[in-house]
């Protein structure tokens, strides 16, 4: 990682997995000079109270984000097209994460 500014470390996005089998969720971000230190910093800032069984750290610069002006064309759910919303079948009993 190259430094963004002379005296600040790059930013890393932190993802925590609350339990085995669940999805990693965005928890926040930390500064660190490299991946190993980013993992350690993330561990200290976000997992000290048993919040996670697994951690990911990703350089913030690697994230490609949609821009606010895209929100119309990107996210319009198309409510007039009922066939796009698959809610006509039931979820099997015992499935907690879906």
């Amino acid at each position: 990682m190259t430094k963004n500014k002379k005296d600040s470390w790059p930013l890393w996005e932190v993802f925590t997995q609350p339990a085995t089998g669940e999805a990693h969720q965005h928890a926040g971000s930390v500064h660190a000079p490299d991946g190993e230190i980013a993992l350690q910093n993330a561990r200290d800032a976000y997992t000290r109270r048993g919040e996670a069984v697994s951690l990911w750290v990703v350089p913030s610069t690697a994230i490609v984000a949609s821009s606010p002006s895209d929100s119309g064309p990107f996210f319009d759910p198309g409510n007039d097209k009922a066939y796009r919303h698959p809610q006509f079948y039931s979820v099997p009993k015992g499935v907690r994460e879906f």
Partner: protein, 259 residues
Amino acid sequence: MNSNYTDQIKKNLFEYVLRLGDDNLILGHRLSEWCGHGPILEEDIALTNIALDCIGQASAWLKLAGEIEGKGRNEDTLAYFRTEREFKNLQITEYANTDFAYTIVRQFFLDVYFFYLYEVLTRSKDENISAIAEKSLKEVKYHFRHSKEWILRLGDGTEESHNRTQNAINDLYPLTGEMFEIDLVIRSLMKENIIPGITKLKTSWETIVRSIVEEATLTLQEDVVFTAQGSRQGYHSEQLGHILAEMQILPRTYPDAEW
């Protein structure tokens, strides 16, 4: 508490557990001085977390020491109402933070020490000792990972970080000799298998310390003269008095203070 121990064994066990407690108490206090002064927020949090782990371990060991002694002293009385000469911590634990490099080198030397020591103590015949050692070992494994990664980065970093870390090693390595002293207290507990197989500690410590220091392009002196001695008998550097003054002033001024 194992009531089968003779009075002499109890006395030695109290003394030994006190050392474990004092090492962690003083080191934890030193680390806590970084709180709010860390080089960067994330590292501030890391050092403070490690400080809390050390204070937690100190609390467990001192509580056990009080129970062994059986004179009604608990972890707080032992921490706050003893004087300098009654503290048995290693002198390296009281060494001033100085700068980030000194703090990390001090921590690194002690993390490797506690890693191997606790590993031995998890096999102790005494269930209280093995239980605290096992719980603490988990924490120390993380402390070691933290300090090791920093040694590698500081040593193999910039010219300034390299020089500062080398200076810290030159000053702190001579204080590590007394970590491995085997005196009558330890010898008597080894005979009882309360402390098993501690004789390999020095070799294991030096092997891992040397390999990481060299990987970090730093040097561990070959013919070092170990200067620190007498900590386990209560002899300390000037530093400890200052630490105790700050640590003990509140409970000594208001002995019944509660929060």
